[in-house]
Amino acid sequence: MPTQPETPFLESGFRRRDRSVQPRLLWPEYKSTLNRAPTQSLIPLSPTLSEITGPTFSPQDIHLIDRDLLQNARIDRDPLGERTLLTGRVIDQDGTPLCATRIEIWQANAAGRYQHVSDNYQAPLDPNFSGYGCCLTDESGNYEFLTIRPGPYPFANGANTWRPSHVHFSIFGPAFATRLVTQMYFEGDPLIRDCPMLGSIPDRSAQSRLVAAFDMERSRPFDCLAYRFDLVLRGPKQTHFENRPDGL
């Protein structure tokens, strides 16, 4: 492996991605990684103008119904399942709220079945539920989805492997470099312990940050229970002025 010369770009952009909180690409317990994880090291690249830019989003592009998965595919009745409110806040590593950034979610229905041609699990589809949701964060970085709690389901990995209940979250942030897709799990789910996908993250506290906390205070009486899931995207690189006297 040749040594890489210093990248010639300005030290602008974003903090380097901390790979200790990111999953390993090759993780044999999750069998699909065996044939798909690159075998060569990723090549370091200081973000250039191409990566510190990215798509921007307008509220006009979002229909408010897409934050309500009980309504956005409804034909003649509410979808079956446990009415669930998912809330949270999106910040960067410095704690700055990320407003007007696009969040897309997808999930199985209450029986653990996806509305997808490739899902052949025997559990039934729900004609009133698609599992698709979309919103923009508000001016404080907050988001909210109303949905049903997805069911667990088996998947082809080991002799008897099951996915814990989870919701997929896709989030953009301010640049192509901050792009992130993850999964949110539910506090107290006994399947979390043995999940090979969660296990691909080396740091246990990083794993636990993907588990949404049950939030009784936000639950709505006679309506729905609530879970809280906060997200953190890469922060901008800081310029260090510590050695300068104030005012200069």
Binding site: T7, P23, L34, G95, H116, F176, V181
Partner: protein
Amino acid sequence: MSKDPLHHETSSQTVGPFVHIGLYPAVSGIVARSRTYGNQLATTHAYGQRIRVEGQIIDGNGETVRDALLEFWQADGHGRYAHPADPQAESADVGLSGFGRSVTNPDTGTWTLESIKPGAVTDLSQQPMAPHINLALFARGLNIHLHSRIYFDDEVEANALDPVLQHCVPAPRRQTLIARRQETTQDPCVYRFDMVLQGKNETVFFDL
């Protein structure tokens, strides 16, 4: 001055095989009322040479990946990004979306992108970069998405001066980032960009 400790970035998880529901809903028969993003980036008003890029993704067994999703981010025909970090953002071409998505066909494994060829981008360090499309690859079995770039084989001079190709990527691997123009008289002109996930000719992926 007291400093709050940094927050950790949220960990990634794979998009899994049902990614289309959330990121390309039409494939799942879902009619999304919010805007969705497809593989047509340019309107007929966009400035630049019309191009079509297509390719397949090959796994470690030599098989085509049929459940992947790709995201593209590119500059307009003059090399300007429609984003506030670009000093030229205000004059960026409104006929180009800049961002798009494509999915590999479940039968053939081929993905396609229709756009205009981006112009050379001048980085904030004032260095010109050869025309390129930024790419993020998501799929079952990828615990975190992979970043790559698509360059063009008919930009020989610009590629030879491109700081990323020349300074970051070892010479024997550079060709994995270069799309090959196909022999065709069609308009738009067609480029082929296959990606290899493992082994010989493994595509370069970046740690941004």
